[in-house]
Subunit: 154 residues, 4 copies
């Protein structure tokens, strides 16, 4: 596998995930080259990141109209390792790699049922205050949720 | 061309459009069968319907957060006449076929640069009151906008 | 519920489905009006129709590069009954309503976990010969698969 | 603006683009947070990259069924600088930042009509031989096309 700056040891890195969400590649997600279009992993990353946040217990707040904060994506990246095809079942693994004051660096791994990695990625999310437009520091409760076993495997 | 219940005479029907919006088929809108995926015309219909509403001058109100009404799609349909391919430039024509108290039946035509129709469609929109969730009757101003030359050709 | 030409009795019609596929509304499938965008049911229809074909046992042929036939969508329609929101789990039910020589009229029902219908639809598919571009008649095997208990109840 | 590893001086970097393609944010590309969904820039990158390749004159080969090579995305990333909203007209600028044996590192800039950058990105493409699945070295003609004024300013 080629080098990606955010993965120092692929096997260790893969072992650190404890949360995953399953997706199946839709027909409408393929393109005329016969494989999954390259824009699609970002859709899977979003879906899986939200499931991860739900599992941790704080997506619920963010989608309330009355919430004063929303999570905003600061950056996203994806490295494509293998071509992926229609109908494939993929596990999209998510972990919180690093926690900032009001942000979190999430890592992603898309792998086949046989464990083979197809694409990897990462991206930073910021908790934004809707009114000020500035980052809103994580609460103690949020910080401890991010550090739960679900989030980062020992 | 096969029969569609909402078109009695294809040539007359095509001549009645005076508004159109151009789209180009994206690579990500194709699928592994090598043509434009069948879910895509509905994206084009929405984009072109909104351009049509902008040209008539009332999309602006609907997208204001303070607006008490929003347009909601009641139904949509599309008949596929020809396969469409990556990179094709299409004219998406829109007209207001029939005006109800709080709804409008819109007709759509997707055609090639040479005038050949590729898909046709229709769908009813309802102006909904956000608070009551009920249909909100068109104002006199809206009714006259719908009857402008842009909307229905003579 | 408002009238749709293809449903004579809503309760009977709903009872006739025996196949369904579950989807969850993605965040990227919502729009700025706060609900599922109106183009999305067609994505669900395609995904569920393919799962239906897989269950019947003939999607496998169509996606082989060597297949001489592909299924093509002739028309599609959707009636929106209820607004649908982010994160909702929906059952997308599919049945073969009527079988033509080389086509099939499929019916669709999208319903909430509590059984409430949110949107309904239908659309005709044609089995096309890749080389001639004409409809290819269903084989006896295909016809009997369509008439299996999975496809049409009773 | 925050630091991105692939931009040393933002103003210089922005000045180096000479190709751009215009897009308008679709309603279906917004999400319930009221802005353009974060998966959408990757769709714009693909569309604009292909227009860039067309302008250079070699997309035409790649989409021929008989072509022995296809361009494949090796990685993609996007940094989000500003929230973007429905209906905004954006210029998506593309340039070839660095040419490898069979790959090219493309840079992307999405900016408003007033010149304000909204998102930036990059990604490496590889020209793949369909039969061997390996990278296929750029021809001399392709190399000189990449070095044309359209591709890299001065």
């Amino acid at each position: 596998m080629k080098n990606t700056a955010y993965i120092s040891d692929m096997q260790n890195w893969m072992n650190e995930f404890s949360f995953s969400h399953q997706v199946t590649v839709r027909f409408s997600e393929t393109d005329m080259f016969g494989h999954m279009n390259n824009t699609v992993p970002f859709v899977y990353f979003e879906e899986s990141r939200i499931e991860f946040f739900k599992a941790l217990g704080f997506m619920q707040d963010w989608t309330r109209a009355s919430s004063s904060t929303i999570p905003v994506v600061a950056d996203l990246q994806c490295d494509f390792l293998k071509q992926v095809y229609f109908g494939e079942k993929l596990e999209i693994c998510v972990k919180a790699n690093e926690l900032g004051t009001s942000s979190v660096d999430l890592h992603y791994l898309g792998k086949r049922e046989n464990g083979e990695p197809c694409f990897v990625g990462r991206g930073r999310m910021v908790q934004l205050n809707k009114h000020t437009g500035k980052g809103e520091a994580w609460s103690e409760e949020q910080r401890s949720l991010f550090l739960s076993p679900l989030s980062i495997k020992n």
